[in-house]
């Protein structure tokens, strides 16, 4: 009896068919979603490359905000460290070092833009249709909460459900990338007479 009740309650939230109440947390969610989507759209449409990077930053922070909203604080902090502290800074530095300052990107052909818009809209419509028709089945087991301790023990766990092997493989990938960087940086400059 009790089980049924819990399931029913959960399903309501799963399908997003709760009562139409305007609680503060709901408003915050919609705000975060709007920030994310609008700045993502601006990031791919603006013709000023540095602004594109800044809009991308806002989109990534918006996603981190959604993780905070879901109360997955560790994931949110990692999102900010990796994407904002790492990738956006990398992108900005590559803009500084390779692109012309303050110049606008060349305008794309209208046909190309139309084609891209059409293609991505069709894809979006297709996936949305699938989503609307598909009923997601809840698994019975409670998923592991992504807290720091859980993620740590899972990463280095060797028993069933542990991710020790993938973790080591990924660290090998990182090592390879590091060595690649060093090799590129070591490349001696061509001698000029």
């Amino acid at each position: 009896m009790k089980k049924k009740k819990g399931k029913k309650k959960k399903k309501k939230t799963l399908l997003g068919r709760g009562e139409a109440i305007m609680s503060g947390s709901t408003v915050i969610f919609y705000l975060l979603a709007a920030i994310t989507l609008v700045s993502a759209l601006l990031a791919v449409t603006t013709r000023m490359i540095f602004r594109a990077a800044i809009y991308l930053l806002f989109a990534l922070i918006g996603i981190a905000g959604i993780y905070f909203w879901l109360q997955y604080e560790f994931i949110a902090a990692v999102q900010i460290i990796v994407y904002v502290g790492g990738i956006v800074v990398l992108i900005i530095f590559s803009i500084f070092l390779t692109q012309q300052a303050g110049e606008q990107l060349p305008k794309q052909k209208l046909g190309r833009q139309l084609f891209a818009a059409l293609a991505s809209f069709c894809g979006l419509a297709l996936v949305m249709l699938q989503l609307a028709q598909h009923a997601f089945v809840e698994t019975g087991n409670k998923a592991i909460e992504p807290t720091v301790a859980n993620i740590g023990t899972q990463m280095l766990g060797v028993e069933e459900g542990g991710y020790s092997l993938p973790f080591e493989v990924v660290s090998m990938l990182l090592l390879a990338a590091l060595i690649g960087c060093i090799v590129i940086a070591l490349k001696s400059k061509p001698e000029t007479e």
């Binding site: 915050i28 000023m48 602004r51 909203w69 604080e73 800074v89 303050g102």
Partner: protein
């Protein structure tokens, strides 16, 4: 959503007086009077006003303190005309900055140019959230407190890069790039020295870290490795906040004023304020991790001594330690000459980073073997 979750549940009958009771009384009263959404809004407004008020006071105090410390180091008087003992000097400065014209250069990207100081301010405000100012006085006691500070402070570099690029000035751009390289590199050793304390405590939560120091601060309990990591932490945060001797981003003899060359009036003041607030925040974090935050000076199980120490209020301990560290950082500024960019990067990558990595291993061994007190 987090409203004002209340931290440390103090035991009944303790000497040390906690603010938890007051804030939970306010929270309960609000919950009885309004519905939860409005309670959240009201609590956020209260927190916002508190943070802005603290900002204003800290800005005034720290600017005056910097000038007085500088004067003291150079055996002169410093500001002493406005108000009693020159105490109103920074207020007068603020007034001056407020009425100045805020100019935007012609070729600048206006949107980003105006956005950058606000991002710097917002980052500084966000960083206030997990800091425990006194016993039971903390905005958001999240379970990843220290990691949150590391994460949010990495957004700071974006505002500097944005300001430097949007100014459309070569000095600004060079200052911003130097600052970017500097902050990104020094974040590593700051992070590693924070990790040593996390390893010793076994938690990222600020409250847990403070409570673990109830029988002595980590700098005393952790032997030499923790002292090493404390020294590295102080060096790294001095570099991260762009202060002398690491102020290459605004080296006035080479780059006019670095990334904020083109800023004037209130926008400049926001950058200036954000810099001082960041100094305060990193010192507060340093005080929390290594010197016990609001925890009074306790020695092992000397009951009587600890009891006497408990009579000093917790906020006095916290602000005392924090301002001591701020004084140390100001002391650096007037003692060491500015580094060159290559010396700066050599110091980080060839000395601090290997030392702090090795130190982290040492601390891990210390924690596993239980050799700390």
């Amino acid at each position: 959503m987090p409203g004002l979750p209340l931290s440390w549940r103090g035991n009944e009958g303790e000497v040390m007086w906690s603010l938890t009771n007051i804030s939970s009384a306010i929270h309960d009263w609000l919950n009885q009077t309004f519905n939860p959404t409005w309670v959240m809004v009201i609590e956020m407004v209260i927190a916002g006003i508190a943070v802005i008020g603290l900002f204003a006071v800290l800005g005034l105090v720290l600017v005056l303190m910097e000038r007085r410390v500088a004067a003291w180091m150079q055996i002169r008087l410093g500001p002493n005309r406005v108000g009693p003992f020159g105490l109103m000097q920074s207020l007068a400065d603020t007034l001056k900055l407020l009425v100045k014209e805020g100019m935007t250069p012609d070729g600048a990207d206006k949107f980003l140019f105006n956005l950058a100081p606000f991002i710097a301010m917002m980052v500084a405000m966000l960083l206030m959230a997990p800091i425990a100012f006194a016993k039971g006085f903390q905005l958001w006691d999240m379970n990843i407190g220290v990691l949150y500070v590391t994460a949010i402070s990495s957004i700071m570099v974006i505002s500097i890069l944005m300001a430097g690029w949007a100014s459309n000035n070569k000095y600004s751009l060079m200052g911003a790039m130097r600052s970017g390289a500097q902050i990104v590199s020094y974040e590593l050793s700051a992070g590693l020295s924070i990790l040593t304390i996390v390893v010793l405590t076994g938690s990222l939560n600020i409250t847990d870290i403070i409570n673990a120091q109830a029988d002595g601060w980590w700098i005393f309990k952790g032997h030499i490795p923790v002292i090493i990591s404390f020294v590295i932490f102080i060096i790294a945060v001095t570099a991260e906040t762009n202060r002398a001797p690491f102020d290459l981003a605004e080296a006035e003899s080479e780059l006019t004023a670095g990334f904020h060359t083109e800023y004037s009036g209130m926008k400049f003041a926001l950058f200036f304020l954000a810099e001082y607030i960041n100094v305060f925040i990193v010192c507060a974090i340093g005080a929390t991790l290594f010197l016990g935050g609001w925890m009074p000076f306790h020695i092992g199980n000397w009951e009587a001594f600890n009891h006497v120490m408990d009579y000093i209020p917790s906020s006095v301990w916290f602000f005392g330690k924090t301002f001591f560290l701020i004084f140390v950082i100001m002391w650096f500024r007037w003692t060491f000459p500015r580094l060159r960019i290559d010396q700066l990067l050599t110091l980080e990558w060839k000395y601090l980073l290997p030392i702090s990595m090795f130190n982290l291993l040492l601390v891990t061994a210390l924690a596993i073997l239980g050799w700390h007190f």
